[in-house]
């Protein structure tokens, strides 16, 4: 099956700054793919090139079978874009703006059902300007989805959210089964919670790619066993714990076994590339 997004040797520079250096990526249909990286790593540049908002310097890019730099209206009918924070459409209600954007597309979703789905049923008649930050982001998602896209771009969707709002937002995204989603984020837990596959980008290059659970050899990585009187890094933590249990003759005081978190792996990855 053809990938929905395919990138080969993508490059882009701003003056002397090489923002993206030879990036290769492929995203399959129905996948939730997270592009993870610190600020200024080249995430947004890459995504904006895929959205058709930015020109590339070199490389081959295909999104839904077309070059986004040349694609027209028909292609835009098949994608949905949720940009980083915007403050527009404050004076109209949730329902008005969703219904209005529905008129741009040939086969739009039912606006009322969509508003329910993004969890704004109770706020449908409120003006967008009076909503909380998290609720506004849900409006953005509804506007990205209203054309019933095959591919949805989500650019740093939960920046500035409190932890509870983030978790509720994740539930919304998890509920979008079947839509291919390209998510950018600098939150590792977000990538881990949502993505089927993750690529880590640092200094304009992909430094690791794969399942978030095994990224960078994480599942096979050394575990740290620590207890009240010491700690060891080991490849065989079960043996260490058994040995400790024998030594203490039962409960080991303050016992902890820790695998590297995605965050550790990530920091190692972006650190290694510097």
């Amino acid at each position: 099956m053809d990938p929905v997004v395919s990138i080969k040797g993508l490059t882009k520079s701003y003056g002397s700054l090489q923002a993206v250096q030879s990036v290769d990526l492929a995203i399959g249909r129905g996948e939730i793919f997270a592009l993870l990286g610190p600020n200024g790593a080249g995430k947004s540049t890459t995504v904006e090139i895929l959205e058709g908002h930015r020109r590339r310097d070199g490389g081959e890019v295909t999104v839904l079978g077309e070059d986004p730099g040349r694609a027209g209206r028909r292609w835009r009918e098949r994608i949905g874009i949720v940009l980083q924070t915007s403050n527009d459409t404050a004076e109209v209600t949730v329902r008005e703006v969703v219904r209005h954007f529905a008129t741009f597309y040939p086969r739009p979703r039912n606006p009322d059902e969509l508003i329910e789905q993004v969890g704004l049923g109770a706020q449908r008649h409120q003006r967008v300007g009076r909503l909380s930050g998290g609720q506004r982001r849900r409006v953005d998602v509804a506007l990205g989805l209203v054309g019933d896209p095959e591919l949805l771009f989500l650019d740093e969707p939960t920046t500035g959210f409190d932890p509870e709002a983030r978790r509720r937002f994740w539930e919304l995204i998890k509920g979008l089964q079947g839509t291919t989603i390209l998510l950018t984020t600098h939150y590792l837990d977000e990538a881990e919670a949502l993505a089927d596959r993750v690529a880590v980008i640092a200094r304009g290059r992909i430094v690791a790619e794969g399942d978030p659970r095994t990224l960078g050899g994480r599942s096979g990585g050394r575990a740290t066993v620590s207890w009240a009187e010491g700690s060891v890094r080991t490849d065989s933590p079960t043996a260490t714990v058994t040995e400790l249990a024998g030594r203490y003759g039962g409960e080991v005081p303050g016992l902890q076994v820790v695998r590297p978190t995605l965050e550790d792996t990530y920091l190692e990855l972006i650190g290694a590339s510097r």
Binding site: G52, H53, R74, I81, T85, D88, V92, H100, F104, G147
Partner: protein
């Protein structure tokens, strides 16, 4: 076409929701008309033309440019900065439908404004409404002036570096134009070289065309050339429509400068 209408409806909804903006946009030309109409009274000797008639023509011309050039120049700069334009550019909405929506909504605003100004002029200053073919002249002068104003406003929205500065950047040239085009100062009092400068821009011609509508033949003697030069008016305004369109296509940006 349906999308353009949907855009116009949406734009109007957004405009009319901002109450203070609506009140002040609509009341400014009316307040000015009442002020000037109260300060300067009477008739031009031997013509039967009242000063109020001259101000009515001028204020309608200025109001048309205010809702088109000034309003669009500022509001599009704000939309660009708020990210509304970038959001729209990611949808299948065609550019022409966006522009047509703007023009359609401005047309409705201009008609409301003109109706209000005419009501005030008739009730307070006893102005005669245009008759017969004068309505036709009225219609095309407003239509051409409005269209060129919209296109220039869209182009001007890219001039300002940010939404904050857009108001200042657009107000100054607009204010100067109003002074030299016979809106505030009666055209008969202006030095010739200033009128020559004004003749490059659309407002002078709009006001002149509107004087043909409201002053009629009685006002002909006041015109320096003894004529309202309607053919030339149509030509200059038409040229601005084309020039505005070219400027728009050349300068329009969906994104703000900071956004690349």
């Amino acid at each position: 076409m349906t999308v353009a209408l949907a855009r116009a409806g949406f734009e109007l909804k957004v405009f009319f929701r901002e109450r203070d903006q609506v009140v002040f946009t609509f009341s400014l030309p009316i307040v000015l008309l009442v002020l000037f109409g109260s300060i300067f009274t009477g008739e031009y000797p031997g013509t039967g033309v009242t000063v109020a008639e001259v101000y009515t023509a001028g204020m309608i011309g200025a109001a048309v440019l205010a809702v088109s050039l000034q309003n669009l120049g500022i509001s599009i700069a704000v939309e660009r900065e708020e990210g509304a334009l970038k959001r729209l550019s990611g949808t299948p909405l065609p550019k022409y439908a966006y522009f047509a929506g703007k023009v359609g909504s401005v047309l409705v605003m201009a008609l409301c404004e003109i109706a209000l100004l005419l009501a005030v002029a008739v009730l307070l200053y006893d102005i005669d409404l245009p008759r017969g073919t004068a309505w036709l002249t009225f219609a095309w002068v407003v239509f051409l002036g409005l269209t060129s104003g919209c296109l220039l406003g869209i182009a001007a929205s890219s001039l300002a570096g940010s939404a904050k500065s857009a108001g200042a950047v657009i107000t100054l040239p607009f204010l100067v134009l109003q002074f030299i085009s016979g809106v505030f100062i009666p055209f008969t009092e202006l030095p010739g070289w200033l009128t020559d400068v004004a003749a490059i821009f659309p407002l002078k011609w709009m006001c002149q065309g509107l004087r043909a509508v409201f002053l009629g033949d009685g006002g002909l003697v006041l015109q320096p050339t003894g004529s309202y030069e309607l053919a030339k008016t149509a030509l200059v305004l038409g040229a601005w429509v084309i020039g505005g369109l070219v400027l728009c296509l050349m300068t329009f940006r969906w994104k703000s400068r900071r956004d690349g």
